[in-house]
Symmetry: C2
Subunit: 246 residues, 2 copies
């Protein structure tokens, strides 16, 4: 259905995550310049390499990613719709600013949409979906949250599986549109999580929470599942708000 090459893609772009300016311009066809720049910029914004509010000068990006102006501008236009980049009237682009207020709104909206998606999934999900939930839960549980138990060091594989897990829960909702929105909001949320500086991560047992959610879902206990999922989000949210200096 969504065969758009440049549209949403996993924010965690696979094994070979490259620094900006790596890989100047390999001849590997199959991916357009635009979509390459799009994903790299997206990654750099989500991971915080490009800070909120930062000016995105075309000429600078042109040199950084080693492409012409067109792919840069096109990628920025795309990111504009993802709310990762803001276009300022006739003064170019900048990274969307981040604030505690924006985050609060994001979190709230995300809970609303995911609640609906989860309810629909529980009501209509097939047995195949159940199996996917089980698998995603298991796979996520097999990867540690952080490299070190004390100070937090992100693990890319965890990020990847975590997103797959949460999207799988919603995947049977019957609306690719809603799913797309949830996907967007998920990525927005990851950005805030990484921005908050993940040093000293909360002591909650996140894996246990995931397990409970999955159990409620598989028991088709709609109310419990929604309650657990929402508090899963709001708990993390409260913590992030503190880091953001609410």
């Amino acid at each position: 259905m969504d065969n758009d090459a440049t549209s949403k893609r996993q924010s965690l772009s696979g094994p070979e995550q490259r620094q900006a300016s790596d890989l100047p311009n390999d001849g590997s066809r199959s991916e357009s310049m635009t979509s390459r720049v799009y994903s790299q910029l997206r990654d750099d914004i989500i991971t915080g390499k490009l800070m909120p509010g930062q000016k995105l000068k075309i000429e600078e990006l042109r040199r950084l990613y080693d492409v012409g102006t067109s792919p840069i501008r096109e990628a920025l236009s795309l990111l504009t719709s993802d709310h990762f980049v803001e276009r300022i009237d006739q003064r170019g682009f900048r990274v969307t600013r981040a604030s505690a207020e924006e985050f609060a709104e994001l979190l709230k909206t995300r809970c609303w949409l995911e609640e609906r998606a989860l309810r629909e999934s529980i009501q209509h999900g097939s047995s195949n979906w159940e199996e996917q939930v089980i698998l995603a839960t298991y796979r996520l549980s097999r990867v540690p949250r952080s490299e070190s138990p004390d100070n937090f060091v992100a693990i890319e594989e965890w990020e990847k599986r975590h997103k797959i897990y949460h999207m799988t829960l919603l995947s049977a909702c019957g609306s690719s549109i809603l799913l797309k929105y949830c996907d967007q909001l998920y990525d927005q949320n990851v950005r805030y999580r990484l921005l908050a500086g993940s040093t000293a991560y909360p002591k909650r047992d996140v894996n246990a929470e995931h397990g409970e959610i999955s159990d409620a879902i598989l028991a088709r206990d709609e109310e419990l599942a929604v309650k657990l999922l929402v508090s899963h989000y709001t708990n993390t949210g409260k913590f992030l708000q503190e880091c953001l200096g609410d």
Copy 2:
């Protein structure tokens, strides 16, 4: 908050609606080529002048709107995120295809999101919001639905006020993100409505329905208001489905 010059704008672009190829390239500054092309293309897609599935050839559009390739491509990229245009891998762009299935999904999702937005608005809306609701209701009621009572002829002013009316109902939901999504889905819906060919419009008294919805809202009767709004949409939806040859 959203000072993005090129982002969402009213799908009904004011009094002087221009045909594509009007107004070749006037010197009127203040609006970038990109945003001009964006709104025109958007209008032409919503109103059906550009048909679903139609190939959007750059060179053709370049001549039609009398601009270079960059603004065209940028506008198309923007429209891609609005789901009005699809990008086909390395083969350019085309108008997003329309189908009864897609419409059903759209309608369903729209009901979900608007339900949430309406509930929040009713719970948190201020007295100022109430007044806006009253005003929007009144203004909509002052314009006839069609030029002629028999065969349907669209009235631009009605379209405009109708959108304002429905968005006003949701405007106190407390989430600009959710509001943006509802706005997008509204425009998508208008496209389907116009595509369905509005000849022979249903005999329902749409104005009365709007009045009832507003009354329920002002009485802060959440359940009733939601029920009325949703059936308002699903009724129209059923009718459109028939036209689409469901």
